[in-house]
Symmetry: C2
């Protein structure tokens, strides 16, 4: 494994992720971590030349399609535009062949550009010295571009071929009807395709520029359109080649308001126009525009760490880079994929991951984006209500997996083989993992408290809270024997435990959700009767109140036992013990699933990820510190952290409990989930929730920025290696710059109004434009 992370000096220090040697085993990982995008497009960094095992993915937001009737909708892989065939005297560039004297691939997080430099000898002994550059524009959603500069040490025949390759699939599933292709004026390539089921059109255009007078030969294959340049290159002749590409889709926001009558024609026209404009500019000017947009982002968003923190600094920037490109900031019809748009994993679907692990970044720093994402959840109510009804419940039961805004539940029904029976394993999460509904309500309240965005709450937020509460009131089951309400047969966050009863996390969050609805109704009655009436008309609030009140006080909330342990479920503490050392020490995750099937796993006291520990994080105020500590220690011992959602949560809770060393250890481990040395973790895409978790553990954990009883509290607790950190927040519409030392915190209110918040445990008001400093 040869990825270097100490990259750069001077202005570039801790801005570069560098692969310094070519290692075929890291193809997938590097494709994902070097991926580029802008929220509209997501493009894996597959190398220009092909390799077996590569995943050459380009995704366009919102273009979901079902490849076949029995499958769930997913983001389809559109025709690849990143591949470039380079042949020298008939030998195709292939770094595994010939001789590779020099190799580096660099992602400059500051600019979003990747640069690959190689010196490679063909099997015939001709040396190619080349630099490949590539970016997806942050300034123009539709633009991506590549540049190739090279020379040879001997005269040779060069063949360059590139265009669109629509033979790509999603691991064998073809989402597109055959494309309609053509070339205009020998230059502009046009590739128009339509998804098979959802009827989404994709228009891809590209044009190339070569610093030699060589005509391009159009090469049209089945589902491919390319242009071929063939020429003699003199020794040391500098060849410059660039390719400018644009992608548009019929789901583009611009078509949402006024759909053209002939969508295909509109896309062709708009695409050609966009290509012409971009092509006229060329690679470097287009890059400059994109870099400017990145400048703006980093100026607002960078987090700076001081002390012995080089890798941490880079990893935090890496997270901030991906957090920025994983979301279409202005499109409330799409969520964030569990692998962002960097791989086929989880099909571009949104999970609770968004609200619990990613949204906090936006809620705390980019409220406009957070609002877009929560508007998406409002639009999701359509599917949530349908799902509740289908399952015999009331109100809004959010899909476990969500795709296009009205797709409803899209969790697949089966996954890999059961290692015992040999049959496909049933996926139950879409059926019985219910906590996501409360998680969304929780996120809505966090957003309200952090931003004070009444408009959102009035238009969308309250309705989400109220209708999710109604769901829970219909979901709980009365136990006559115990005279209490229970929630039976669920999966909690710990997905190694199926069909459990009274999962503590789920029950507490359900109770939270219902009480939140009661508070909302009370507040609206007092403060905004017109809105109350409007919502009442729509939802029948009296009924919700009645149903919630009928169960909420008697909803069973598992309490700590004599040993202080809160049972994760009715079953958990009675399960068989298992020596977890083998699995805990493995670099790979989910190795336990090679030894046990789900049915067997269900019988052991082993957890995939933070479950009760997650509860300690979200509703920690309900437990004393001793209880939290005992439960943290106990549940950590039974947890394999086989989900990327686990470690950052543990880091924050450990930090809260003053377990500084352990907190930092989990933090370090969470930083390496994508950036680490294990070669295959990111094959299916980066872990978007883990990247959000990096921000959470950095800013909410060590930076100590949290909501406490509805008010922002900043109480930094830096790890030993750090001497300081600076991070931005956005509170009540005002931008804050927070600078923390080991014992101090400085907050500058860059906004236009006074803000009241806690610094450590002191409640203070910071006037608009003012800066205050406090120590422990």
């Amino acid at each position: 494994m040869a990825i270097k992370y100490d990259a750069g000096t001077g202005a570039l220090k801790n801005w570069l992720v560098q692969e310094t040697a070519f290692d075929e085993r890291c193809l997938g990982k590097c494709e994902a971590i070097f991926a580029q995008g802008n929220g509209y497009l997501g493009v894996r960094n597959a190398l220009e030349e092909p390799y077996t095992g590569e995943k050459r993915n380009t995704f366009v937001t919102g273009t979901f399609n079902k490849a076949s009737a029995d499958e769930v909708t997913e983001l389809p892989n559109v025709a690849d535009m990143t591949g470039i065939t380079v042949k020298i005297n008939g030998y195709e560039l292939n770094l595994l062949h010939g001789e590779l004297d020099d190799y580096s691939r660099t992602m400059n997080l500051r600019t979003g550009e990747t640069t690959r430099k190689i010196r490679w000898k063909t099997p015939e002994g001709i040396t190619l010295t080349a630099s490949f550059r590539r970016f997806v524009s942050l300034a123009d959603d539709h633009v991506l571009a590549s540049a190739l500069d090279f020379s040879l040490d001997q005269e040779a025949e060069v063949l360059l071929e590139t265009g669109m390759d629509g033979s790509v699939t999603n691991s064998g599933a073809q989402h597109f009807d055959p494309p309609v292709c053509r070339v205009y004026d020998g230059v502009d390539m046009q590739f128009l395709s339509k998804t098979t089921q959802s009827g989404v059109w994709i228009a891809q255009h590209a044009a190339c520029r070569l610093n030699k007078d060589v005509p391009a030969l159009p090469v049209m294959g089945r589902r491919t359109l390319k242009q071929q340049y063939r020429f003699e290159a003199a020794p040391a002749e500098q060849i410059h080649f660039e390719k400018i590409c644009t992608i548009h889709s019929s789901r583009d926001l611009s078509y949402e308001q006024s759909a053209p009558t002939d969508m295909a024609e509109a896309l062709k026209t708009d695409g050609r126009k966009a290509l012409a404009a971009a092509y006229e500019k060329g690679y470097d000017p287009l890059l400059a525009e994109s870099v400017k947009a990145w400048d703006t982002y980093w100026t607002q968003s960078d987090i700076r760490l001081e002390g012995d923190a080089d890798f941490d600094q880079l990893a935090v920037r890496f997270a901030l880079y991906h957090l920025n490109i994983m979301v279409k900031h202005d499109d409330n019809r799409v969520g964030i994929g569990a692998k962002a748009m960097t791989g086929e994993g989880y099909k571009g679907h949104s999970f609770w991951d968004t609200e619990m692990f990613i949204l906090p970044y936006f809620t705390f720093t980019k409220p406009d984006t957070a609002r877009t994402l929560l508007e998406y959840r409002f639009k999701n109510l359509y599917g949530a209500r349908a799902k509740a009804k289908e399952n015999g419940y009331e109100g809004a039961m959010y899909p476990w997996e969500s795709a296009w805004v009205d797709d409803g539940e899209v969790t697949p029904l089966y996954m890999g083989a059961d290692i015992i029976t040999g049959e496909p394993t049933k996926i139950l999460t879409g059926i019985i993992e219910h906590h996501v509904t409360a998680d969304i309500a929780y996120a809505v309240e966090q957003y309200e408290q952090m931003t004070g965005d009444r408009d959102y709450m009035e238009q969308y937020g309250y309705e989400i809270i109220l209708d999710t509460a109604r769901f829970w009131a219909s979901r709980v089951q009365y136990s006559r024997e115990k005279d209490r309400y229970e929630i039976l047969d669920v999966i909690g966050p710990d997905e190694y435990k199926e069909h459990v009863d009274n999962n503590a996390y789920t029950n507490y969050m359900a109770e939270y959700n219902m009480r939140l609805a009661l508070r909302v109704m009370e507040k609206l009655e007092q403060e905004n009767m017109p809105l109350y009436q409007k919502l009442d008309q729509k939802l029948d609030l009296a009924q919700i109140r009645e149903k919630v009140l009928a169960c909420v006080d008697r909803l069973y909330l598992p309490q700590p036992g004599a040993d202080g342990i809160i049972p994760q479920s009715d079953q958990y503490l009675q399960l068989k013990k298992l020596d977890l050392e083998k699995y805990k020490s493995s670099e790979a995750v989910m190795t336990i699933s090679k030894d046990f099937n789900m049915e067997q796993l269900n019988q052991y006291m082993v957890s995939k990820q933070a479950d009760t520990v997650m509860l300690l994080l979200l509703l920690g105020g309900q437990f004393d510190e001793e209880t939290r500590r005992k439960n943290f220690v106990f549940y950590e011992s039974t947890t394999l952290h086989d989900s990327s959602l686990s470690k950052s949560t543990h880091a924050i809770v450990a930090s809260d409990l003053g377990m500084e060393e352990m907190a930092y250890r989990f933090y370090e481990q969470s930083l390496t989930i994508d950036l680490g040395t294990y070669m295959h973790t990111s094959d299916e895409g980066v872990h978007s929730a883990s990247l959000g978790g990096i921000w959470e553990s950095t800013v909410m954990g060590f930076g100590g920025a949290r909501l406490q009883e509805g008010v922002l509290r900043i109480a930094p607790k830096l790890p030993a290696k750090w001497t300081g950190m600076t991070f931005p927040l956005c509170y009540q519409g005002c931008r804050l710059s927070v600078t923390a030392g080991r014992d101090t915190v400085q907050v500058k209110n860059q906004g236009a109004k006074d803000l009241t918040l806690y610094l450590y445990d002191e409640k203070i008001t910071i006037p608009a434009g003012a800066q205050v400093e406090r120590g422990i």
Copy 2:
């Protein structure tokens, strides 16, 4: 290019095709020429480990499907079972990486088994010595098997993974719904899939055997099912691994008579049963059964050449090998693909190639297979009549491309880019290339004359002849001006000329077809009135006769001009001349299409392939030798031989004209169309018509075995390098063994009845069991 063709000594002399060095540029070629099959299955010889650019195809006869509404039906690529992942300490076997000390891949044409031997050092320096073997059983349609024997020079962790990979597509077109997979008892893998449009089920089963006690871990991905073995191999430990596979389809002949009510279940049951039986036998016994079937074939079918003929001998056997595996000898619902079942080229469709270039092999040596193929054309009448109707004609107008028996015309409408306009090029062959209809009638008469199979003629053959004649009578157009019938706006065999009028080949063949129908009617009236009446009832023979008689005598048959040249079409001799040297001397074919689009090509006096020369071959008796010579020389000079159908035709006609050297030069070139050194000719599959052409030029050309006025005539004319040849024929149901010397021919009648035929120009009768010899 490192394919060796002098392979083998002793018993194996001229039986081995050997690739003696690994050359990535020859991947496609070798996959095709080393392809294996049995007429039911066709499996490309992709290497076990993956390479970019590979085409890992497995086809099952008759399983045609339309990948999308706008595409034509084609043979779908079923899940691959040939791939085996081999990892040594995490490094995947990849001959382009690490160090390759030794490499050979051998196809033993005698046994149908391929063997690949490698000595390869991993990037870590561990040496793997391995032998990979593979065959498709000729004894059992459904069975294919692989064996891998290897050792390492150091202890290392080995990972073997193999199963079914259903992520394969036809160049991006996915033909199958998601598969249903499972493993039984930890051993038997089952992979069941259904084509998306035609609803054809494919059941694939496989089981592996390893000479170590290592449990298999099932690995089920999207469209993949594999088993994984992970173990430590000691230095020099001999590892033996084998994989036995079976494939069944719902289009299997066995289901044709009595279709099971639950096809999927039947396929699962039958597949598991077949796998169990095959697995119990194991690789070597299964191979032995297959070799026995090959023994039978070669005993009956081998052609032996004497003299300086090593490569010719191998190439002829290579052709005989492929001719045997390209056809399902007993299934009259399927034809022969233009690339057999060795590649995606031409989608598994049958063209005139079958009747004109391949069928003669079967008609002259394997009449049962010939009959099967001509029964297929009888079944095709359904589509032929539909096509005639759609086009406003009468009778039977055969599809230019045929697939499943009732698919009708399946020629695609577009191909690659027009290099001038940038738009897709329209394919006109399905619309205006009409000669195939007469070609089939011609093949039927050849079959009748060679076999004397009255049963076929009465049940099928006459009807084909009569209804095709009716087509031609409706197709011809009367020219008032010239008071003659013409055939305007066609494509002749020369596909570089579109929209031509009075293509000589087409007109002569149409006339032949109509006169043949008149002869048939006359004969039936005289000899078999009941059949005449039956056909009359079905086809209205009086009407056919009337319509044919109305035009046949005045159908324009282009005559030689003052210079002796028969105009290929009304336009041809007026076209612009072009210097063809550049294209004629190119190793690659169709290079002219990089300089001209079809519209431009149409304006030049340049031909793709034998057209008028083909006429000289089929109906040569209608022209004197001088005319034939003049036309041969003239048209050869304007022909680029850009179709693989061209050279063998030229070889035979040159031989007929006594142009011995030229004949042999064309012959040699035709032998290398697949087996030669040019690296990409066979990428899309072997050229089945060219392979048939090799047999034609060998036996009908040099061997001089031809039908002359309905009677077999054998008049060998060996090339200078050969001193003798022996070949089998089957005439009137009797097997003949022919041994030719430079001036003599010996014929042994191995049949049970006396045969009358020509040896040179002497008509003689050879009594059953007797042998005669004649000299020039």
